[in-house]
């Protein structure tokens, strides 16, 4: 469960305050499929970053599985992001100097765990996503769709409970985009909480629940 309570995100420039988010309260239960919908600049990515513990609100509280996140240290937040949350970004955000295998393995290396079966798990994941043969390739040798599949594999390697996808199809053609959405939705069917941030209404309609933002405020 992720709960945000009266959160605001304020940026100050030349003594002028800008509210990226204003007084937002909502709860996302485990296993939900939620779309966060809004136009560009509505604050949806900011909301995702705060719920995904990448950012902190200026005002208000964020609870992650009943833990008040403001009381958590930077290392604790990193650990939650590593083990409980998987991110899928619009621009894929793979590390170009690492191979596909190494990109997927990276969260595991940061976890501090020692798992003798990790190599097989990574290969199984790549196979499930139909990119096993690309194991030793670098991201710039892959198509957009393939890169996004690698990003999904990276998001799943630690078997997180929550998947945050920020405009996951934004850089893809419609056919590939549909494939990616299909993969993400299959993860939700397996019990993962899926939060998709999008400006695309048709994509948002696929979700079981919609959160609509406008100018930093919650409309519904």
């Amino acid at each position: 469960m992720i709960k945000v309570s009266s959160i605001s995100k304020i940026y100050t420039t030349d003594n002028i305050k800008f509210y990226a988010l204003k007084d937002i309260s909502l709860t996302i239960e485990k296993g939900e499929y939620v779309a966060v919908l809004g136009a560009s600049g509505s604050g949806k990515s900011t909301l995702m970053h705060i719920m995904g513990l990448l950012d902190k609100p200026s005002i208000g509280a964020v609870y992650f599985e009943k833990n008040l996140t403001t009381k958590l240290s930077d290392n604790q937040l990193s650990e939650i992001r590593n083990k409980k949350i998987g991110f899928v970004f619009q621009q894929f955000n793979l590390i170009n100097r690492l191979t596909v295998y190494e990109n997927v393995a990276l969260p595991y290396f940061y976890s501090g765990r020692k798992d003798s079966k990790i190599k097989q798990r990574i290969l199984n994941l790549l196979e499930d996503l139909q990119i096993k043969e690309k194991e030793n390739k670098y991201p710039n040798q892959l198509s957009g769709g393939q890169q996004q599949r690698v990003a999904i594999a990276r998001a799943l390697i630690m078997e997180p409970d929550y998947i945050f996808a920020d405009e996951p199809t934004g850089n893809l053609d419609s056919k590939t985009g549909k494939e990616i959405i299909s993969i993400l939705e299959s993860l939700n069917k397996k019990g993962k909480t899926l939060i998709v941030v999008t400006h695309d209404k048709s994509l948002a309609d696929r979700a079981k629940r919609k959160i609509v933002l406008q100018d930093g405020r919650l409309l519904s």
Binding site: L54, D55, S78, E79, I95, R97, Y110, K114
Partner: protein, 402 residues
């Protein structure tokens, strides 16, 4: 952390270096030059130190020299001491021979730069008059022939034992010297032996000597004019006791300013201390170039952090802690420094190989270890500020960076 974590860390660091080859090379150049100059200075220092120590080792341990005049630890006073009118006498030698701690007591008369002639050839060397104990005292080894013995001394035989250079200069080859005649200070001497080449010496340059029994030159009155007395203690533990006894015996007849009792190891330590001080100073100056190299590393690492802000954000998003980011950039900084150090070491090694026939220089494991240690320290010190900057980046700001 799993093994793969560290392997990936090093692999990423090496990749970063080789991705920007020219930039990395230019950055490492400062470290390279610094390491090369420091290693060469240390190599010269070690070579010279070992050369000096070897020369003193040649003299052997448990040794004392009793010399005319007061040296007082000031080595330059040695030449002034030689100008003193005071000389040792044969009776002093006899008194010292009675000391139980003394295994060997050898008197030495020295006349520097005398003309040594054989036929039409002449050579300026040192005339050394002593007894048969000098052979062992000076660690001579025969190239050809033999040293004079006690019977030659008692028989006042006019015989000579030549240093290598002396024989080489006077005859077609040192091997032909035995049986020939040399003339020194108007005295005709029959050559009975030539020493193997030695190189260097303390009282005189061994290779340029002509050595004869002191009884062969009565006109020089060596028995009342010895410059040095060489003593060897029965054991190292008795050296100090022997020194005190020698001072006590000679003080019965002479003033404290008339003579000095010197241990070669004291001389060696004094020389090495002065030399170490100078060498450390030179190495310190050479290390300045390492600091300059380190600044270059820091500059490049700051650039690397700026270029990879987004990557840092991605890594933080997927669970990297601040220390993971810090370690990543520190490792890169260290590897960049070590890259320069390895090349600097190789270059220094090549220079040492080339000059070794002409100049004392050695690279040992301590020098190699020091070079690697200092380079690692440079990498850590100058890489830490950029690494901390990377680690302290806010994940969300970094991930949004374009």
């Amino acid at each position: 952390m799993s093994e793969g974590y560290y392997i990936l860390l090093v692999k990423t660091a090496v990749q970063s270096i080789f991705r920007a080859k020219l930039r990395s090379f230019l950055t490492a150049l400062g470290i390279m030059i610094g390491v090369m100059s420091v290693v060469l200075l240390m190599a010269f220092g070690l070579g010279i130190k070992n050369y000096i120590s070897d020369q003193f080792q040649e003299l052997g341990s448990n040794i004392l020299y009793v010399v005319v005049g007061k040296i007082d630890g000031n080595l330059a006073a040695g030449s002034r001491a030689l100008a003193s009118n005071f000389r040792f006498k044969l009776r002093d030698v006899a008194s010292l021979r009675r000391l139980p701690e003394a295994e060997v007591v050898v008197p030495i008369y020295l006349q520097p730069r005398v003309k040594i002639q054989s036929g039409k050839n002449s050579f300026y060397g040192d005339l050394v008059l002593s007894d048969d104990g000098l052979y062992k005292a000076y660690n001579y080894q025969n190239f050809v022939g033999k040293f004079f013995d006690e019977s030659d001394l008692r028989g006042r035989e006019k015989v000579a034992y030549l240093g290598w250079n002396t024989a080489a200069e006077l005859f077609d080859s040192p091997a032909e010297a035995v049986g020939k005649t040399v003339v020194v200070e108007g005295v005709r001497l029959r050559v009975i032996g030539v020493a193997k080449e030695k190189g260097g010496g303390s009282a005189s340059d061994f290779d340029n000597n002509v050595v004869a029994p002191y009884t062969a030159f009565p006109q020089l009155d060596p028995e009342n004019n010895f410059y040095f007395i060489y003593l060897r203690a029965v054991s190292e533990t008795q050296l100090n006791s022997l020194k005190n006894r020698v001072i006590a015996v000679l003080s019965r007849n002479y003033d404290a300013d008339d003579f000095s009792v010197i241990e070669p190891t004291e001389m060696l330590n004094a020389v090495l201390n002065i030399f170490s001080f100078v060498n450390i100073g030179l190495v310190g100056i050479g290390a300045i170039s390492l600091v300059v190299g380190g600044v270059g590393v820091m500059n490049v690492m700051y650039m690397a952090v700026t270029e990879r802000i987004k990557e840092i954000g991605i890594r933080r998003a997927i669970g990297a802690k601040k220390n993971d980011i810090l370690l990543q950039f520190l490792v890169e900084s260290i590897i960049l420094s070590l890259f320069g150090a390895v090349i600097g070491l190789v270059l220094a090694y090549i220079v040492v190989l080339l000059i070794k026939p002409y100049f004392a220089a050695e690279i040992d494991l301590t020098i190699v270890g020091t070079a690697f240690g200092v380079s690692t320290a440079i990498g850590i010190f100058f890489g830490s500020a950029p690494a901390r900057r990377a680690a302290n980046l806010e994940p969300v700001s970094a991930i949004r960076y374009e």
